[in-house]
């Protein structure tokens, strides 16, 4: 099998796994056995193997699979899988379900072929021969040879005979993944670059099989990366890509290797910024000028390069920027999708500040679409993160206060304003400890407590809190500060409400 084909298998499977769940990929293991499938055969695979627990799939899984990048429609409602992908999936079938399932799939294919393709003898025979080959490869070869002397052979045609001979000779007898992995690791130490590349790509393909562990290959892959002098060698590049997939320290070493190489090239070319960073900067400039499509284009290019080098942090940042652009053009769902992707990266990197900021943005999109329960969940996480980091300085405390404001709004919309009061009261001692007693943010928090107390239907208590706040406010911010004037207005309103029993809605907001 050629190395480029193997590379295609890994990339294609990675792409497919972004689109369909692993449970649907297990249906694809079964669909890999026939030469081609049609929707009817795929339906029978699901009906026979995915209706009863623990493996259950809905009807929609069939269309999701046929329309995924795993298949190419070749006409007559037939779908073909690239051979290299097929080989990897057959390993998955053997590993996950064993030889008995391979035999059952072959038998089902045989039964189906006789009824579905009786008017297409070449296809019918090809499918039956493939089924037989998986159950008894010797007899399959014998049948093909006997066709030479048979009248049926003349009817089916010489071209078909040659094609099937080639097909059978290339047909793998799938083994279980651990054995395939062990074989590939051995080949990683081969002298031939092509053999090494083939081995890396085979491992890359198997790495895409859910539940298949290729970590054993990590050290051998690091050796391929470290000890080859040419960083551009195809086996080294492939090894670096696979190390990233392995994650953990393997990914970290691969990223260091790739970044070092990229920076050396950038310096040599006279441009201090690496290309993706330059593109990101251009994107930011375009967005600032309101050229959002152009900004998107720059960001997408940068994103591709950061992904190539495995720079997850910058990948997350660019995704955040993309989300910012979508918000500018009111595409909140698209923005949320980008931020969610960035959030996943920041969580993976354990960057808590970035995680909190992204969750805050995501919560804002939920608020704009009035999905309050989702907004609440997101903001609760934000507050929890900032609380955990609060001791690290005034900036975090300020972020915490702002996130509490958002949370209070959502709680109030859900009829839970009293919880907002409780949260602000809990914030106050932390603020006093970190910021000092007279910090303006503390005055804002006290004002929020007074405001939400009033919203909870306690006008007398709200009035008392505003009156307590006023002298401190005047002392710290001055008598003419706009917040001081607003507090005077609040006091006047509450006095009016309490004395005239006017509805609370008449009060001005802080």
């Amino acid at each position: 099998m050629s190395s480029s084909n193997n590379a295609g298998a890994a990339d294609r499977l990675a792409e497919v796994r972004r689109q369909i769940p692993d449970s649907v990929l297990r249906l694809a293991y079964h669909a890999a056995l026939p030469v081609v499938v049609d929707p009817g055969l795929l339906n029978l695979f699901r009906v026979n193997f995915f209706l009863d627990p623990p493996d259950t799939l809905p009807f929609e899984a069939e269309a999701a699979l046929l329309l995924s990048p795993l298949f190419r429609e070749i006409g007559d409602c037939l779908y073909e899988m690239p051979p290299e992908v097929r080989n990897v999936l057959l390993v998955g079938l053997q590993t996950s379900y064993g030889s008995e399932r391979v035999r059952q799939v072959a038998l089902l294919l045989q039964q189906y072929s006789a009824s579905a393709w009786s008017t297409q003898p070449q296809l019918e025979r090809a499918q039956q021969l493939t089924a037989l080959n998986f159950v008894d490869s010797v007899r399959a070869a014998q049948w093909l040879e006997s066709l030479h002397t048979d009248t049926e052979g003349a009817a089916i045609g010489q071209e078909w005979y040659v094609a099937m001979r080639h097909h059978l000779s290339a047909e793998p007898q799938p083994d279980r993944a651990p054995r395939e992995v062990a074989r590939a690791i051995k080949k990683l130490r081969d002298k031939s670059q092509e053999v090494r590349l083939n081995a890396v790509q085979a491992l890359a393909g198997m790495a895409q099989l859910p539940g298949t562990d290729i970590t054993d290959a990590g050290e051998a892959l690091l050796d391929v990366m470290r000890y080859q002098s040419d960083a551009d060698a195809s086996d080294v590049k492939a090894a670096v890509a696979l190390l990233r997939i392995l994650g953990g320290r393997y990914a970290a070493e691969a990223a260091v290797h790739a970044n070092r190489d990229l920076r050396q090239r950038a310096m040599a070319s006279g441009h201090p910024d690496t290309p993706p960073i330059a593109l990101t900067k251009r994107g930011v400039r375009s967005a600032e000028m309101g050229r959002f499509e152009e900004a998107n284009s720059y960001y997408e290019q940068a994103l591709g390069l950061f992904r190539q080098t495995g720079d997850r942090h910058n990948e997350g940042r660019v995704l955040t920027n993309l989300g910012n652009v979508y918000v500018q053009i009111d595409r909140f769902e698209d923005a949320r999708a980008q931020w969610q992707a960035a959030l996943n990266i920041m969580r993976e990197l354990d960057d808590q500040m970035a995680t909190a900021r992204l969750q805050q943005k995501i919560a804002a999109t939920y608020q704009s679409t009035e999905d309050l329960s989702a907004a609440l969940t997101a903001l609760e996480e934000v507050v929890a993160i900032y609380r955990g980091l609060a001791e690290s300085g005034p900036d975090v405390m300020s972020d915490l206060a702002v996130s509490l404001n958002d949370l209070a709004q959502v709680l109030n919309s859900l009829g839970r304003a009293s919880e907002a009061v409780r949260l602000y009261r809990e914030l106050l001692p932390d603020q006093e400890r970190v910021l000092g007693p007279d910090h303006p943010d503390i005055l804002v928090t006290r004002r929020n407590i007074a405001f939400w107390t009033g919203e909870c239907g306690e006008p007398a208590e709200a009035l008392r809190l505003y009156r307590e706040l006023l002298p401190d406010q005047e002392r710290v911010r001055g008598a003419d500060h706009h917040n001081t004037l607003a507090i005077r207005g609040n006091i006047a309103c509450w006095v009016l409400i309490i004395t005239t029993r006017r509805p609370v809605a008449a009060i001005s907001k802080p």
Binding site: L44, D52, R103, Q104, L107, Y112, I329
Partner: protein, 384 residues
């Protein structure tokens, strides 16, 4: 009331059949209990399968499913006891008392069951075995019975054709008026004169749904009892709007809808639909439109780009033009989408459903679609 526990193998057969849309009732279980008590179905797994088929199924397809399910369920070791000839309650344990001796033991039931098949030629191409546990009958989200039940609600019952039915009231009234025996008054039978046009999208992203859609159409014809139900097929859309410049008049390029230019879109008349699902026999769309009788219900079956999760402004433009042409002739046009609604957002389907009621091809979706075809108003965001 005492609860009755089914023996596990029978309960498992029931569960597996339910997942395959064949739901057994108490009477079905009772029939099996009586037959087993009378000594039937004990000699082999095949015999039990034949008994279940005889008792429960109504079609060859259901028979195949029952046989496969009985073949794959693990059966207990039977304890033979003398026959009493009387029906008894089903025991709840896995060990079953058998009233008559059985002819053969099939203890190795859990392994693949095969039988030899003799092929022709020097070396047979066949694997030489069949697996009785395998089902070769397709299964879709709706049973034919459910589809038929849903479509029977699309009714316009009028008397037409030859007078063959006695009108008892009119006959008595005539007898009372004349006072002498007169021939009975005959009237034509009531028939479902509802008219239905199914416009069905084929190939491309609809290919994975062909089997399901064909199955639904067949069920409508078999049991829908609609006098005039016909299909016309197309790929993506029957035609395209010649004047694409309408799209350039949408001021905001980031808006997916066509609300701002709706009034500028002309009804679609140029284009072709096909008489057959293979799209080999075309006829003009204009002919279909011109022949649409008043009161015809039109059902469009298409994924509207949702299967591939795509948004296509030109497809939306052409769809709106087609809908305008249909609305100009008939009042009730409804869209059924075989893709589940959670996959509609950010596709052409999401925009199409703003202009026409669109429902998924599920039981609830079909019920609501038929409500729409019967004239029950369904709100849309923008009326065309």
């Amino acid at each position: 009331m005492t609860s009755v526990h089914l023996p596990e193998p029978i309960a498992e057969i029931g569960r597996q059949l339910r997942r395959r849309r064949l739901v057994l009732g108490i009477d079905d279980y009772d029939a099996l209990r009586r037959a087993l008590a009378a000594g039937f179905g004990w000699s082999s797994r095949e015999e039990l399968g034949r008994l279940c088929v005889a008792l429960w199924v109504k079609s060859p397809e259901e028979a195949a499913v029952v046989r496969a399910v009985v073949s794959r369920v693990v059966l207990p070791t039977w304890n033979v006891s003398p026959a009493t000839g009387e029906a008894t309650d089903m025991p709840s344990a896995n060990v079953v008392n058998v009233p008559v001796p059985r002819a053969a033991d099939d203890s190795a039931e859990h392994v693949l069951e095969t039988e030899s098949v003799h092929g022709l030629g020097v070396v047979p191409l066949s694997i030489g075995a069949v697996d009785r546990t395998l089902v070769t009958v397709p299964q879709y989200p709706l049973a034919e019975r459910e589809i038929a039940q849903a479509w029977r609600r699309l009714r316009l019952r009028l008397r037409s054709g030859p007078a063959v039915e006695v009108d008892a009231a009119a006959t008595l009234e005539q007898y009372g008026r004349h006072g002498i025996a007169t021939p009975p008054v005959l009237v034509p039978r009531r028939r479902n004169t509802a008219r239905l046009l199914l416009l069905i999208d084929r190939f491309g992203s609809m290919t994975p749904f062909h089997g399901y859609v064909d199955y639904v159409v067949k069920a409508i014809h078999n049991a829908g009892r609609i006098d005039d139900a016909r299909e016309a097929y197309f790929h993506d859309l029957p035609g395209s709007v010649a004047n694409r410049s309408v799209l350039q008049q949408v001021e905001d390029p980031f808006r997916a809808d066509l609300d701002a230019v709706l009034s500028l879109i002309e009804p679609l008349r140029d284009g072709s639909v096909y008489q057959d699902p293979q799209l080999t026999v075309p006829f003009p769309l204009a002919t279909v439109l011109d022949n649409l009788a008043e009161g015809t219900a039109v059902l469009i079956v298409s994924d509207a780009g949702a299967a591939r999760r795509r948004y296509d402004a030109t497809r939306l433009l052409d769809t709106v033009a087609l809908l305008k042409a249909l609305h100009a002739k008939v009042g009730t046009v409804v869209w059924v989408n075989p893709v589940q609604p959670e996959n509609w957002p950010r596709t052409t389907a999401e925009q199409v459903r703003r202009y026409i009621p669109m429902y998924p091809l599920t039981r609830e979706g079909l019920d609501r679609a038929i409500d729409g075809l019967r004239g029950r108003p369904a709100p849309v965001e923008r009326v065309l």
